[in-house]
Assembly symmetry: C2
Homo-oligomer: 202 residues x 2
DNA sequence: GTCTATATTGTGATAGAC
DNA sequence: GTCTATCACAATATAGAC
């Protein structure tokens, strides 16, 4: 049984993840990461050689894991409505644990697509199966005719967008009231399910 | 009648806007802006003193204009369904002209909220009237009971999210096929309207 | 492994000629 | 107004002692 140790390497990884997600690759400072990890700047280079490699060391496994979870669900053989419900639950849960992640990923992909794509995809992930399932249910007349890609994008949008726009929502809709925003985020699982179900049933 | 001139100042503003939106404030380089504008780096400082002020000079009027348009529509006295339809048309049109703007704004707000808030809000903008209108229609039984804030956020989400996530959608859903993505974006106005109407009517 | 000190390069900003 | 040259400092990265 291995005892959990706060090794320098682990401290660095945790600190770097925090700073990168908060500031973005360009805004992140090696000095700040070192301070956050409680070690010296030189040690970052000892463990990870340079900023780029440190970035990859964190987000390669993180992204893969994120997409693997979603992928497993999408590829499963569950009925459509159950799958949608689980999809929403899964997304909201994961993002609630990592609320800054969507905005971070969105920005980094725009900023440097190649760097992120090489980390994100091992080629396995694709929502194709879910899109096909939409088509089948439409053909069977179980849901109203709707372009599957648009449904897919709308579903992802209502899940992810509130996290990306959280600071703006807080300001514009809730006048900075943190409690109201928290409660709003809690309610969303149920609200999204109702919204999507109504949108796709006849 | 004033003849349109490509003055250096105008060139700088256009170049800076392009580079800032593409790279973000942290990623933008004064040198790159100068090159893009076809002038020297020193001239940037001659006209705008520093990077921060250059940033503000561009985005203060741009943001104000963006929100003023939306605000005018939201505050108008049109019937709800017509207002939603126009809201979607307006958003998609503006964003189609500035596809990188949503991601840029989202990132800059997270990165440095104060800098952006002072540019974005003169205090006048608020979707309160639209939210109240939702409540009234629910009370009258014209649309199904739905938390107005969630409806508001869902409406904005399906409009804006595809722009923020465009590079990812292009890769994951359309396998990089630019033509299919373009067509998809064209269709969205109609698709979103159908989607939202179905989601809110009984 | 961890540190201090330093090298090296990048980047915003200024001085001053024209 | 526009340029070249340069400064000052910030940031990544390395050298070398312990």
């Amino acid at each position: 049984m291995k005892i959990e140790q706060n090794t320098s390497e682990q401290n660095i990884l945790a600190a770097a993840r925090k700073v990168f997600v908060l500031k973005g690759f360009d805004g992140a400072r090696m000095q700040e990461i070192a301070d956050e990890a409680g070690i010296n700047k030189a040690l970052l280079h000892y463990y990870f050689r340079n900023k780029e490699k440190l970035f990859e060391a964190i987000f390669q496994p993180a992204f893969r894991k994120l997409f693997a979870n979603i992928n497993e669900l999408v590829e499963s053989d569950k009925p459509l409505l159950e799958k949608i419900s689980l999809f929403i639950d899964n997304y909201i849960d994961v993002l609630s644990q990592n609320p800054d992640l969507p905005g971070f990923i969105a920005h980094e992909i725009n900023r440097n697509p190649d760097r992120i794509y090489s980390l994100l995809f091992d080629g396995s992930f694709s929502p194709a199966k879910l899109i096909i399932q939409f088509s089948e249910e439409i053909a069977k007349g179980n849901i109203r005719p709707i372009a599957p890609q648009h449904l897919m994008v709308n579903l992802i949008a209502v899940c992810i967008f509130p996290f990306i726009a959280r600071p703006m929502l807080s300001k514009i809709i809730f006048q900075g009231d943190q409690l109201m925003l928290d409660q709003f985020m809690q309610e969303r699982k149920q609200e999204i399910k109702q919204f999507v179900i109504h949108a796709i049933t006849k």
